[in-house]
Each structure stands twice: as structure tokens, then as C-alpha cells.
């Protein structure tokens, strides 16, 4: 299946893949962003530029938009799709953690029907997913967030454009009136075989009132949960160190934004 082709064509050129049949998904009208009553549906052929420019995504899912904004460069963004970034199943996929932090679900369709599952359950290993040979990804469904929510995306790369993440982090906090956390998501990329939630770190925060100490200790915990490798971009130990740094920064930024939204609202 080819949509934007920005990963697929590379692998075809390198002869890692030699498909005898290529199906262009553009013909399937999966290029829409539709806002419903309680969720936003993004077709998997929607390009990253479209996500960037769409006023609903900007308003409702700013961390996703932030991730799109820093992704590669304009010519790639005009072709690369959300579906492709997911289907490619790279552990460093920039768009998966923000989608995961917003509790995205993906729709898989086959001739026999469709199934819907949480995005983060889609991945089974580097480049591997639960998708069956007769299935395609058609849609990403993003539930609208509770009113008092904010999210932050931070990417660590070796340059400010055209960079593969050394580590990327997305945090989301949703709170009750009294500043008590009702929902927390800390989703990490490029630090494990698949994009992952730092569940133990989330546990530290969930149900509690936000404080500096809480956020710091969650960040430290997150760094203990990851399983990074060393590669040409970063060593294992740097990834561990940076996870703590980025999670901490992201959590603080998310909390600050909650404070701003509260005073604005």
C-alpha cells in the first residue's frame, strides 16, 4: 500500500522491498478530517501539511500539530501521511506519541469487516504491527479531550529540521477543578522497540495534585521504564538521561499551559 510513499519508496529503492503489486491508497478517499460530536476522525491518507493547516486539529490537538510542524521539512510534509507514519511502525515515529497521548484509536478494515483498537496496541516491534495482510488502516479517531486538558510535544534531534528523533516525548494532563489529575499520558518515542507509555510514571501522577516534586519524580520514573538502544544518533545512556529531561520539561510545560488555560477560560 502506498500513500505518501516517503518511507516506502526509500525501501523500494534500496531493494529492501520489491512489491509485485502496489496499491495507491489515494483512490480510497481517506484524505478527510471530520469533526464529530465527540471525536475527530482523520483519514489515514491525510498529509502532515493538512494536519498542520487544519483549524480543528490546531485547536483541539495542538501537540499533534507541534509534532507535524517539526517533522522533516515542507516537501516531505506535503506527502507524508499520518497513516504512513503509523503503518511504518518505526520506534522513532514522531506522530505516534502525540496521537497516543490523545488516546487515538485506529481503524483497520478488510473485506470481512473492520476492527478498532487503541493506537499504542497496534505496534509489536520495530517495523512490526498487528496489521493482517488483508487489512488497511483507514482512519484515526481522536476523542475530544476533557475541558481542562493540555499536552506538550518535545523532540530531541541533531538539527532543527530533517532530523530523526533521538528521543521524543508527549505528555498530556487532564485535571479536575481542584488541580487533581484525572488523566495523564506520558508517551515516548525512540526509546524502546515500540512507542510506549511510561505507565509507572503516569501512576505517580494520576489522581494526585500537581506539584513540582510529583512531576520530577514521574520524569525520573519514566527514564527507568524505557529500553533504548545505542545507534548512530545517540547512545543508550544519553537516551536514558534525555528521557528524564524531556519528560520533566514536557510535564512542566503542560502544567503551565493548564494554568494559562484556566486563567484564560
Amino acid at each position: 500500500m502506498i500513500a505518501g510513499g516517503t518511507d516506502l519508496i526509500l525501501r523500494m529503492r534500496d531493494r529492501v522491498l520489491s512489491p509485485s503489486l502496489l496499491i495507491d491508497l489515494r483512490a480510497l478517499s481517506l484524505g478527510n478530517i471530520v469533526l464529530g460530536d465527540d471525536e475527530l476522525c482523520i483519514g489515514t491518507s491525510v498529509s502532515l501539511s493538512q494536519v498542520l493547516e487544519n483549524t480543528d486539529t490546531q485547536r483541539l490537538f495542538p501537540a499533534l500539530v507541534a509534532a507535524c510542524r517539526e517533522f522533516a521539512g515542507p516537501p516531505i510534509r506535503n506527502r507524508a501521511t499520518l497513516g504512513g507514519n503509523i503503518a511504518n511502525a518505526s520506534p522513532a515515529a514522531d506522530l505516534v506519541p502525540p496521537l497516543g497521548a490523545y488516546d487515538a484509536r485506529v481503524v483497520l478494515r478488510s473485506a470481512g469487516g473492520e476492527r478498532v483498537l487503541p493506537l499504542l496496541e497496534f505496534f509489536t516491534g520495530p517495523g512490526q504491527s498487528v496489521i493482517e495482510p488483508d487489512e488497511i488502516l483507514t482512519e484515526i479517531r481522536l476523542p475530544l479531550m476533557p475541558t481542562l486538558s493540555a499536552a506538550t510535544f518535545i523532540k530531541l534531534g541533531q538539527r532543527r529540521s530533517m532530523a530523526i528523533s533521538q528521543v521524543n516525548v508527549t505528555t498530556r494532563l487532564s485535571i479536575h477543578e481542584e488541580n487533581v489529575v484525572s488523566e495523564v499520558r506520558i508517551v515516548l518515542g525512540a526509546v524502546a522497540p515500540v512507542p510506549m507509555r511510561a505507565l509507572a510514571a503516569e501512576q505517580i501522577i494520576s489522581g494526585n495534585a500537581l506539584s513540582d516534586e510529583l512531576l520530577c519524580s514521574a520524569a525520573q520514573k519514566a527514564a527507568e521504564e524505557i529500553m533504548p538502544i545505542s545507534d548512530v544518533r545517540a547512545s543508550r545512556s544519553y537516551r536514558v538521561e534525555m528521557t528524564e529531561v524531556l519528560v520533566r520539561r514536557a510535564l512542566f510545560a503542560t502544567r503551565d499551559e493548564l494554568g494559562r488555560n484556566a486563567t484564560d477560560g
Binding site: 502506498i2 505518501g4 510513499g5 516517503t6 519508496i9 526509500l10 523500494m12 529503492r13 502496489l22 495507491d24 489515494r26 501539511s49 522533516a72 521539512g73 515542507p74 516537501p75 516531505i76 506535503n78 506527502r79 532543527r160 529540521s161 530533517m162
Partner: protein, 167 residues
């Protein structure tokens, strides 16, 4: 490998041509249509030398299969000048020394042209963002900023003297 006939608009002309399934748009442009202005710097979408407009948007043509251009309109560097007259940004690139060896220039110009089509007064930051996928090894990017801002000024002056375009 079976060829397929595709039809698309290239620089204002309708074209019908046979393409192979794993042929990229870049290869089609350069090898079949003789449009060698668009360059191959890496064949992997990393350098931007191959940038063309596909339905008005800059894309790396090495990352588009030729068959995917079916029904679309493509603009290459050869299509920027109209009736033998350079687009202002082509001229200001030369005046501002926004290039030296020139190999990155076609792709760079397309990205800049696309920016000017949607932004008549781009800031330095906006220009740098627009060319963040275009790699230049000879000259850096300051000359490009200067050239684009100069061209934008010229275009604003032309447009205001001609009156607002009809919608």
C-alpha cells in the same frame, strides 16, 4: 514490468506518457521528458534538490512514483519563467548571489516560489521554514532570504500598481 500510460499537466502542457511502476516522478521528468533542470542529489528525500510543485505544493519528486502524478499538475523549474520572462525570484536569486554552484537552486527556487504564492511579505523566519528541506552546501541561506524578500517587494509593487487581482 508493465508500463502504464499516464496523463498529467506539466508546466502548463498536457502530457501523455508511459511510466513504469517503480519509476519515480524525478526519473520520469529527467529521463523521459528531458526536463533535466530538476536535480537528483540523493534519491532519498533528504536534500530537496529534486523539489517540484505537485498540484501547487512543493514535494521531493524522488519520493513520488511517476504513476502517482496521474491527473495532477506538475511545475518544474523550467515552468517558472513565463513567455521568456523570469519570475522575479529567479532574477533576484542571481542578483543577491543566493547560489554558487547552482545545483540546489532549482529545488530551492520552487520552494521559494511556492512560499511567495501564498505569502506576499514573508519574514526571515518564514522563509527559513519554507526552505528547511532544501540543502545548500555552497552558500548558506542568507542570500536566499534576501532574494525572496526582494522578490516579494517587487511582486507587491507590481500587484498594487496593477490594482487588486479580480477574485
Amino acid at each position: 514490468m508493465a508500463e502504464t500510460q499516464i496523463a498529467f499537466n506539466i508546466n502548463g502542457n498536457q502530457e501523455q506518457i508511459a511510466a513504469e511502476p517503480n519509476q519515480t516522478l524525478l526519473q520520469l521528468l529527467r529521463d523521459e521528458l528531458g526536463l533535466t533542470g530538476t536535480k537528483d542529489g540523493c534519491s532519498s528525500g533528504d536534500c530537496g534538490a529534486c523539489v517540484v510543485l505537485l498540484d501547487g505544493k512543493p514535494v521531493n519528486s524522488c519520493m513520488v512514483l511517476a504513476l502517482q502524478a496521474e491527473g495532477s499538475s506538475v511545475t518544474t523549474i523550467e515552468g517558472l519563467a513565463k513567455d521568456g520572462e523570469l519570475h522575479p525570484v529567479q532574477r533576484t536569486f542571481g542578483e543577491a548571489w543566493a547560489f554558487q554552484c547552482g545545483f540546489c537552486t532549482p529545488g530551492m527556487l520552487i520552494s521559494c516560489y511556492a512560499l511567495l504564492e501564498s505569502n506576499d511579505n514573508p519574514t526571515r523566519e518564514e522563509i527559513l521554514r519554507a526552505i528547511a528541506g532544501n540543502f545548500c552546501r555552497c552558500t548558506g541561506y542568507q542570500g536566499v532570504v534576501k532574494a525572496v524578500q526582494q522578490a516579494a517587494a517587487e511582486l507587491r509593487a507590481t500587484n498594487s500598481s496593477e490594482g487588486a487581482p479580480d477574485e
